[in-house]
């Protein structure tokens, strides 16, 4: 008796496996699952036939049926996962797009190239411990000239070079005026940079603009030396032009020069594509300037430097016309 059931069970499992393997979609799968394992399913039907068995045989056959059921359930499960994957793959295939099509452009906010350089400069000097100071663009003659040891006869004071409002008020010709304002209000040590707009009575051409941007730097403390000035500017320039110099180690040069507000004075250059490019002026703060703001020039020494943001930016990006910065042609600005 039991062997008959066993045969039936064997046959059923074989048929069921064939059936499962042939399933084409999830709807068929559900139908098949019900046909095998549901309340009216064939395996359930077989189980009902167990009543005819002797009590001794029942546990063994019962166990066999359960094992078959488990195997079928596992086979169904596996088949269902496969069918799901197939259906998902089909759906995804139908949703394929041409990924090479151009998207709608997102408006990208870009910093003006001058302001990018401004930011770089501020970042580098902030890291070197400098505060960022500001001063007025419309200045008194005193701060722009006298306090900087630029005497009344100095050619820079001529109507030809400086834009005046009246005898006492003018558009500052360098950010150096900020030095004086800061020192007047601070006891040493003073460690600042002052970026900002400056004005010259220049006609607009490829290399001149009546308005441009400068950065002034000033360190006044005990024991500040010309060596410190060289080290500071070299460190700064190496960071600013990082990746620009082909040799990786940007070379700087300090040449003697003359400014009324520094002594010793220098101009500083970088070696760029085999040529020395002049970048700005610097020097040890003239003791007269320190005395003008009431500092003890025996106790304190300091250095100051100044350079143009336009020049740095032009070198960095190979820009050959300063007018591009103020024309604000988006085709230019969008390159940065």
């Amino acid at each position: 008796m039991s062997s008959e059931i066993e045969n039936q069970l064997h046959e059923l499992e074989q048929n069921a496996n064939d059936q499962i393997a042939a399933l084409a979609n999830l709807a068929e799968w559900e139908e098949t699952r019900r046909g095998l394992l549901g309340k009216k399913g064939s395996l359930t039907g077989l189980l009902r036939g167990m009543g005819k068995l002797s009590p001794e045989e029942r546990p063994r056959v019962g166990a066999l049926v359960n094992q078959t059921r488990e195997r079928l359930e596992a086979a169904l499960e596996e088949r269902r996962d496969a069918l799901k994957r197939m259906e998902q793959n089909a759906a995804l295939a139908s949703e394929a797009i041409d990924v090479t099509l151009p998207p709608l452009p997102l408006p990208r906010g870009r910093r003006h190239p001058l302001m990018q350089t401004w930011d770089d400069i501020v970042r580098i000097f902030s890291n070197l411990g400098y505060s960022v100071a500001e001063g007025p663009e419309v200045e008194n003659s005193y701060y722009n000239f006298d306090a900087l040891n630029i005497g009344p006869d100095h050619p820079a004071r001529a109507e030809r070079d400086t834009l005046f409002i009246d005898d006492d008020r003018l558009l500052r010709t360098e950010t150096s005026a900020v030095q004086i304002r800061v020192m007047e209000n601070t006891e040493p040590p003073v460690k600042i940079i002052a970026p900002g707009r400056v004005y010259r009575r220049d006609a607009v051409d490829r290399t001149h603009s009546p308005i441009f941007h400068q950065v002034e730097g000033l360190l006044v403390a005990e024991g500040v030396s010309f060596g410190d000035l060289k080290g500071t500017l070299t460190t700064f320039l190496q960071q600013l032009f990082e990746g620009i110099s082909k040799t990786g180690n940007l070379q700087t040069r300090f040449r003697p020069h003359h400014f009324p507000f520094t002594e010793p004075s220098a101009e500083f250059d970088v070696l760029f594509n085999g040529k020395w490019l002049e970048l700005g002026g610097c020097g040890m703060v003239h003791p007269k300037v320190l005395e003008n703001v009431g500092y003890n020039s025996e106790k304190y020494t300091g250095f100051a430097f100044g350079f143009g943001i336009e020049r740095m930016t032009m070198i960095k990006y190979g820009i050959d016309d300063i007018r591009l910065f103020y024309e604000n042609d988006l085709r230019f600005l969008e390159q940065f």
Binding site: G109, G227, E263, P287, E334
Partner: protein, 686 residues
């Protein structure tokens, strides 16, 4: 200053051309051009002594350590004959005047060697007399002048020179044929009645050496830099001579230069000396300047010893004395007027030692205030917010002219414009005044870009910069302003539909985002009227009752003034005012635990009632439990009656402490509807 290496080699051995360029540069003499041993040098304003071959040779010798071989030129003893008289009005203008009267001159071409030297020095040969004066100037740095002696002859047969300031009403025609009106600011060389030369600048046509001139007065003088500068500034020109006098001409070499030129005039022009006179009204005296070893080393970052320090200074041919074992005393040389303090000598030490040999170090010491200030950090945040809204930053000129201001429709109006500060001496008529508003600058950028490509995508720009508001007298109030401008360009044709058109609300979204990003959540927008904007599309922005800005669609007339093909939208914000309302403080709010209740309301109300009004009425009626309020639909036109609009609102309520039940929300909605009916005349649409 132009000079050939050959000439220098006569006085000092020079290294090869390229190395010589480096020697010049590292001495502080800029090399503008170098070609085949010919140098064009840039001489700084403190070094008159470099404007002569002798002075340059002296510097090259100091920098290279090579021996200097300058020719020895002795002063000639004065020859007195009483016909020559030199008067000086003020010794401060002219400290020394040496005059030599020469006769039997034969004007001719100069010899080739002399012409060559002049051409190499950038000067045009004229005749032997003029060429000799120019040659000695290029050689010794002392400008000389030769007068036709007849021009200073007196009626009694003598020769009379007066060095004085010009009187009002006097004039002179200079060698170049130009007539100049003179004033007290101009120092002149005069005969007994009128100016015959502008001292140190240029001779007069009347006293010029002519082809038949046989008698010449040779002038070698020391004019004060300030006097020559004053003349040059007043007459608005400069010459090779004035460049030297303005800097400094060696007052101890006046008579030597005269002797040198006289010798050449005798040799090359057949001259012989009739008489000479040397009026040294204010003889030059050396000063003693101390230099301390310790100070020098500290300032430069060097470790020199005293003998080295002394040797470095002596290379410059300075007289150095030992004061004590730590201090030297230096006698200032007559050819330099730029050494008056210790620090001037320290620079000399640095130059001769070599700037490139000073080791690089970094200063020590912390700065607690390093980096940006609070306002500067807020400025950075503001920029970053605007960039994140996809705006391009621009940098525009802060100078403009009245025409641009008028084109932008700016009238005096608080935030927008005030009478600008005018420049006294503008160079260009485009830049005559300082801006008081960002509006013309922004419109200019839109115009520029619309002109480039009428089909270009919308321009979206901003600038954070200063405007300059005049105050009574004094310096103007320089205020930071944020200007934002959008142009409504042709929508982009794209396979992907859905690029939104630019309108007032595109701009308002940016402004809103900007203000909220800075922590100003409570900005209020009110309908405003400004001449520059569309009368129905302009809003003022206030923060805690203070006006901080305006935004709107640019008035079509102004759009036309600037040739803008599309509508434009501009926001102008007073950043300094805005900053006063900001704080860095942010307090965390817990994420809500209880679920919200969402309700929609549709109301019918007069078109004139603003969303802000509806918002305010609802917020007041709803109280704290109202979490969000949005307008999700707005409609006018049939079936909505004329003059009315339909507004659909979505409201979200939430109680942070418990779950809200429908009954409570129903009650709130009832309050809200009541308030809307009562205060806005709204009808609930069912």
């Amino acid at each position: 200053m132009r000079i050939s290496q050959d000439w220098l080699n006569q006085y000092v051995d020079t290294p090869p051309e390229e190395e010589l360029e480096h020697v010049f540069e590292m001495a502080g003499i800029g090399v503008e051009e170098r070609e085949n041993g010919q140098f064009t040098l840039e001489i700084t304003s403190n070094r008159g002594d470099w404007l002569g071959a002798f002075g340059l040779a002296r510097e090259v010798a100091a920098m290279t350590g090579n021996r200097l071989r300058l020719p020895v030129i002795e002063e000639a003893a004065p020859v007195t004959a009483k016909s020559l008289k030199v008067e000086m009005e003020n010794a401060a203008d002219c400290t020394r005047y040496h005059a030599t009267l020469l006769e039997n001159i034969k004007i001719a071409e100069s010899p080739q060697w002399l012409q060559k030297r002049l051409i190499a020095g950038g000067m045009r040969p004229q005749n032997n007399v003029v060429d000799i004066t120019n040659y000695v100037m290029l050689e010794m740095g002392q400008p000389l002048h030769a007068f036709d002696a007849d021009s200073i002859a007196t009626s009694t047969g003598g020769h009379h020179i007066v060095v004085r300031r010009a009187r009002i009403g006097e004039s002179i025609i200079t060698l170049d044929g130009l007539e100049h009106q003179l004033s007290h600011d101009v120092l002149c060389i005069c005969n007994h009645k009128e100016p015959v030369a502008v001292a140190g600048l240029m001779g007069g046509a009347s006293s010029e050496v002519k082809d038949h001139t046989a008698k010449v007065l040779l002038e070698s003088a020391h004019f004060a830099p300030a006097a020559v500068r004053s003349s040059g500034r007043t007459l608005n020109f400069g010459t090779e001579a004035s460049r030297r006098f303005e800097r400094w001409v060696d007052p101890a070499a006046t008579a030597r230069a005269a002797a040198r030129a006289t010798q050449l005039l005798c040799e090359l022009a057949g001259a012989n000396v009739v008489e000479s006179i040397d009026v040294n009204a204010a003889p030059w005296h050396a000063e003693m300047v101390e230099i301390r070893l310790a100070r020098t080393n500290a300032m430069l970052g060097l470790k020199l010893d005293l003998p080295t320090l002394s040797a470095l200074l002596e290379r410059l041919r300075l007289k150095v004395l030992l004061k004590d074992n730590a201090t030297l005393v230096v006698e200032t040389p007559s050819w330099r007027n730029d050494i008056s303090r210790e620090v001037d000598l320290i620079e000399e030490v640095a130059r001769v030692h070599g700037y490139d040999k000073i080791p690089q170090t970094l200063p020590t010491g912390a700065n607690v205030a390093a980096g940006r200030s609070l306002v500067q950090r807020l400025e950075e945040k503001a920029r970053s917010l605007l960039l994140r809204s996809g705006l391009q930053e621009v940098v525009t000129y802060s100078l403009e002219n009245a025409e641009k201001v008028a084109k932008a429709g700016l009238i005096e109006n608080g935030l927008l414009a005030s009478p600008p500060l005018q420049l006294r001496n503008p160079l260009s008529e485009d830049y005559t005044q300082l801006r008081t508003s960002m509006l013309p600058s922004l419109l200019g950028v839109l115009q520029k870009n619309a002109g480039n490509d009428p089909k270009a995508e919308a321009a979206r720009i901003f600038e954070l910069a200063r405007v300059y508001l005049p105050k009574n007298g004094g310096l103007p109030d320089e205020r930071r302003r944020v200007g934002i401008a959008l142009s409504a360009a042709v929508p982009l044709a794209h396979w992907q539909k859905g690029s939104a058109a630019t309108d007032f609300f595109s701009l308002k979204a940016i402004v809103n985002n900007f203000l909220e990003g800075l922590g100003a959540h409570y900005a209020e927008y009110r309908t405003a009227s400004n001449q520059q904007f569309h009368p129905g599309r302009c809003a003022s922005i206030t923060l805690e009752g203070e006006d901080i800005g305006v935004l709107g669609e640019i008035h079509p007339t102004i759009q036309e003034n600037w040739d803008l093909p599309q509508r434009a939208y501009v926001a102008l914000l007073d950043f300094d005012a805005l900053v006063r309302h900001l704080t860095l403080r942010r307090v965390y709010q817990p994420i809500p635990k209880y679920p919200p209740v969402d309700r929609d309301l549709a109301i019918l109300l007069d078109e004139s009632i603003s969303a802000a009004r509806v918002n305010a009425v609802i917020k007041k009626a709803a109280g704290d439990l109202l979490e969000r309020l949005d307008v999700f639909d707005l409609y006018t036109g049939p079936p909505v009656p004329e003059g009315k609009k339909s507004m659909a609102l979505s409201l979200r309520f939430r109680d942070p402490l418990r779950t809200l039940n429908d009954g409570m929300v129903d009650e709130l909605i009832e309050n809200i509807v009541g308030a809307l009916e009562h205060e806005c005349g709204a009808q609930l649409r069912k």
